[in-house]
Symmetry: C2
Subunit: 672 residues, 2 copies
């Protein structure tokens, strides 16, 4: 299967976009008209540049507001189209996307729309070209895929087919199931985009908030399966309008896009062997605004059956008629799609079993601070690296590596973390197939071989086997790791992500390590709104909480820049808190007064929490989180200790603003 | 009238917020609960801090999900309220905002809601406190101000009144007119916020996109007039949730907020002497989503008439009844509100008559580039400043000042511009009253006295009289200003605004100089989305186009940083283009091919445009813009020449991406 990307997905001028698409391994592009218009290259030069880069131009788009208009306007529109056909010929592309009209001049008349599109298809065919008609979700009269398909059927023109865009289809209420029944060969083009569920105007949703497949909430593997069932064999093409991607490094966005398509292809599951005419089990339609009062799913499959084909009328005829639809339900093909030739499969994601270690880069200023903090948390300095200025600190199954071999002094940072996998080579092979190649760790002879992949925030992610003896690189200090303060294991890592790469990071962990996305949380913090989305394995042995500011922070920035933290799990936070020799971050008394009012907790329990600086959260199912924070060390990092009760599966996000304000207060009071 | 601001309006911890509010001259605050919860200060300490700063705590907010719930929950809610009353007593505030419930546990029963609120008011009264009940626009059962008023009337409790929030009122379909008929004394609190018209979920609209009055689309002078007509004499309090304000310098945001309130007060017009029960002439209600199927305006005024007061039942009674409403239309008060004691009036904004000069700061690198450019545009170097390294360049009524007295070398910048006013002292007095005090220009004895105010982007804005002889500070060079290339005057300035201060800038020019906001335009540029909003005087003698990136730009930034430009007007752009000795910015051939298709222009006309590098735009009324751009000079600035035809009143925004791509192409090809 060929992979394509619309130029509108990435930032820059056309040159930037083509270079990025080619470098990421795409086979072709959709050329967005504006990118052509602002380019100093002629269409013929663009064609040559694409050929040099190994890219085909698979689609020219969009051609707007064409059909079902008064004669005078139709004439002007056809003349406009002829000019575009000329450009397309120079570009060497044969398919143009015509999206359903949003013009006030358009009338609600399927016969007229079909007649006009037939006229246009005649003109296109004369140039050896074809028309891919797409129902915009906010089209004036045609806004659903089944409606566009009825019009294409009425026209019955060989040079007129459908363009299906997953956003336009899945953002509306008409279920996608009957797509599998579209006449083979009549889907001319396929555009893929994901999106989060948002309650907003569908046009704004589409223009600003699309995401690459796997980054949003749409079931794209199922959608793609339906389209392939209809015999579609054109490119899988991404068309994503996203405010952030529009202004971030195009080279990185294109890699993110390719990773997304690779994962999607891998996810292609066999279709269920049930009639495809049943409504989709879960439709996001109710989330799209404005929602129609009643949205009855189409119950009749729309197929271009042999019987209806015989009834086709001349495209230019004014007396176009609807083809009678077959009443027979269409069933899925017998051959699972995953076995379809051309579908590339990824190495499966091996099961992860936990966090092996977390490495901090420290310098002469932050190193001592971190050591004091670890000691206060009950860690023991158990090992010293054979050849490098690197220390191992342990408590229970928690292992912290302090690496002083930094070349540039600066705030402390989580430079690397290691997870354990049941099959590290397979994990690394999967990463490689997802455009995240592993690089070998710098090492000396005799040292354990560890390979790392680089996460979007620059952190190295090592994948080790539980049996790997990487600790043998460390000479024992003679200090044993004791029970300390009862810290058992790493509960999660908290990593602030670069603004431009938050969704990229989510997809990276999701695809490369096979972690699931947990629900996105947004909250108001003292210096602006924050977004948090964690990834975790199903058994919750590995959790990474990714956070980002909702707006890139600017000149007024009293907050810690890009904070990072490690949260350790304990079975009894109150006992752990009593065992700490490090004072936890002070929590305001006002917090506890509010907590009591909010959750109806007993005064005794609140007093105990308050005594130890412990924060509290409860989820709707009654799961509870007790957690405490430390101050910030080394200018950027801090620690958390968590006790999860009754299956609490969040991260205490409502308490994050309390932590931020308290950390700032401490900075102000300890530096003055 | 007292002026207050909700702590949620500005960024930071409580200390930052209180300091900012006091410095900007506010009399009081609304304390948002989260700001209290994260504060290390006890309520008593907060009270003292506010007193020290001269601030009163006018409202504690919000108290959520209280009313119309099952008995068990009511009990818990009352207990929760008791805890908050305790906190309020320590804070020394007596009014709490109770917003209509969004809880699934709440039932749609006005009698029950009134009974519960009466119970709560009883409890509040026991503490000497009162309840301000507010209809959230997305309340589960109570979402309009008139509904909240009916419930407050049913309760008939002296310690229960309304909180009116302009956003919640004006974002919904119920007209605000009948607010003037609310029983005097029953509006306990007034919250003011503006907003742009947006088609989105009302909750998201409210939580992310509110603006200060005068920055959005709501008619707040009229709204405030209605509230004052009902006898409201509490504080005018701003409550603005805005993603950008939440993360920008609180000191500046608070000044912006104060400027907004000052302007709003000044705008208080006499109410029309017509019955207030007629529907509002223009209601933004249809823009709020989700919109109900039919939104009939309330036709019966809701007043607490003496007759209905006699029918009040005991608040605790289970048999609450609705008070019969008076059928008499309420008319506006006889005394114009503007004459109301306590309303502060601004010096009126004198009429502006044009741009006097534009000053560029240049250094040894950018100075020569700018001189070459001005010469190429037909400018003559006519004057040299008597005491400073400052040159005057002229053509027609266009005057450019090149100031080489820069202390820090860097890209060229528009450091100042001057407009002519019919009464400069009055203009400056108005600016002073709007927290934008003028600072005297640094000058030597005998030089013209010019005073400037500082715009939010740091540009100095001089206000001069058309008769001012500021040019006498310049010694003639002997070169006369000739017809040049036919540039007549400054059409507009184009100033990129700092991301955090775009709305502040709009309000600054609108309030201080009395310029009107023109419609906001958004467009996709090569490096991300852009927003543009111009301000102009009614006769279009002064225009400033303010632009900003929709997202703050980050690490990938090949664009010119914060570009600025001056656009000059000509009566005949083709003749001007022929007279230029500076080659204009090259425009791609693809642009002209698309132009022909888009507008149906004749081939001859397009060929002429193309020959001279002229871009073209047309508005829906047939107004036309012909304009051309220069390359970027001095790393940051460029020029534009415009010819407006048939009343074209925009700025050719669709062509901005063409310019940006062409300017980048030129940078790449001339630096390589």
């Amino acid at each position: 299967m060929r992979r394509s990307i619309a130029t509108v997905c990435v930032s820059g001028t056309l040159d930037d976009k083509l270079t990025a698409a080619a470098a990421a391994g795409f086979d072709g592009i959709e050329l967005f008209e504006n990118d052509l218009v602002v380019s100093p290259w002629s269409p013929a030069e663009i064609r040559r540049r694409c050929a040099d880069l190994g890219l085909t131009i698979d689609l020219y788009q969009p051609f707007r507001d064409f059909e079902a208009v008064p004669d005078e306007l139709l004439k002007a529109n056809l003349s406009r189209a002829e000019r575009k056909f000329g450009v397309m010929a120079e570009l060497g592309t044969d398919t143009v996307l015509v999206c359903s009209s949003v013009s006030p001049a358009a009338v609600d008349d399927d016969d007229l729309a079909a007649a006009h599109l037939s006229l246009l298809a005649d003109r296109a065919a004369a140039h050896g070209m074809r028309i891919a008609y797409e129902a915009l979700a906010w089209g004036r009269h045609v806004s659903t895929w089944d409606h566009s398909w009825r019009i294409v059927q009425r026209a019955g023109h060989p040079a007129l087919g459908l363009c299906l865009d997953s956003f336009h289809v899945l953002s509306r209420e008409v279920p996608p199931d009957d797509i599998a029944g579209i006449t083979p060969g009549k889907i001319f083009f396929l555009q893929l985009a994901d999106a989060p569920h948002l309650r907003m105007d569908v046009l704004q949703w589409s223009r600003h908030h699309r995401l690459f497949p796997g980054q949003g909430a749409f079931d794209l593997p199922r959608f793609l399966g339906l389209v392939l069932s209809a015999g579609y064999d054109g490119p899988l093409s991404l068309e994503v309008f996203n405010d952030i991607f529009r202004q971030s490094d195009p080279a990185r966005t294109a890699v993110d896009a390719m990773r997304s398509l690779t994962l999607l292809e891998d996810r292609l599951a066999p279709l269920p062997a049930v009639p495809l005419t049943s409504p989709a089990p879960t439709s996001p339609a109710h989330l799209a605004l404005p929602a129609p009062a009643s949205a009855a799913p189409a119950s009749t499959p729309l197929r271009d059956s042999p019987a209806s084909a015989a009834l086709r009328v001349s495209p230019a005829s004014a007396a176009l008629r609807v083809s009678p639809a077959s009443a027979a339900p269409r069933v899925s093909p017998a051959v699972p799609l995953a076995d379809r030739p051309g579908v590339r499969r990824l190495p499966p994601a091996p099961r992860l079993t936990g966090h092996a270690f977390t490495e901090f880069a420290v310098d002469g200023h932050s190193g001592p601070e971190l050591r004091t903090a670890l000691r206060g948390l009950g860690f023991a300095h158990t090992g010293q690296h054979r050849t490098k200025p690197v220390e191992l600190w342990e408590q229970g199954a928690c292992r912290i590596v302090l690496n002083s071999a930094v070349t540039h002094p600066g705030p402390a940072a989580i430079s690397a973390f290691a997870v354990t996998s049941e099959n590290p080579p397979l994990s690394l092979a999967r990463a490689e197939a997802l455009s995240a190649p592993a690089h070998p760790n710098v090492r000396e002879p005799g040292e354990a071989e560890l390979a790392a992949i680089t996460a979007p925030d620059g952190t190295s992610v090592f994948v080790t086997h539980p049996g790997d003896d990487w600790r043998s690189d460390f000479l024992p200090t003679g200090t044993a790791s004791g029970p300390g303060a009862g810290l058992l294991t790493v509960d999660h890592l908290g990593l602030t992500q670069p603004f431009d790469h938050f969704d990229e990071a989510g997809l990276f962990y999701h695809s490369v390590l096979g972690l699931d996305h947990l629900p996105t949380e947004e909250y108001a913090a003292p210096y602006g709104l924050m977004r948090s989305r964690a990834v975790a394995d199903p058994r919750r042995t590995v959790r990474v909480a990714l956070t980002v500011a909702l707006l890139r922070r600017g000149e007024w920035a009293p907050a810690v820049s890009d904070p990072q933290h490690v949260a350790f799990a304990t079975a009894d936070l109150i006992a752990t808190a009593q065992a700490l020799s490090l004072p936890p971050l002070p929590v305001p008394a006002n917090y506890y007064a509010d907590l009591a009012a909010r959750f109806g907790l007993t005064d005794d329990f609140v007093a105990t929490l308050r005594e130890h600086g412990i924060l509290y959260d409860r989820d709707p199912s009654g799961g509870e989180l007790l957690h405490l924070y430390t101050p910030v060390f080394g200018g950027r990092v801090f620690f958390e200790i968590t006790e999860r009760r009754a299956g609490y599966d969040r991260f205490g996000e409502p308490n994050a603003p309390v932590r931020m304000a308290a950390q700032r207060h401490r900075r102000l009071t300890t530096t003055s």
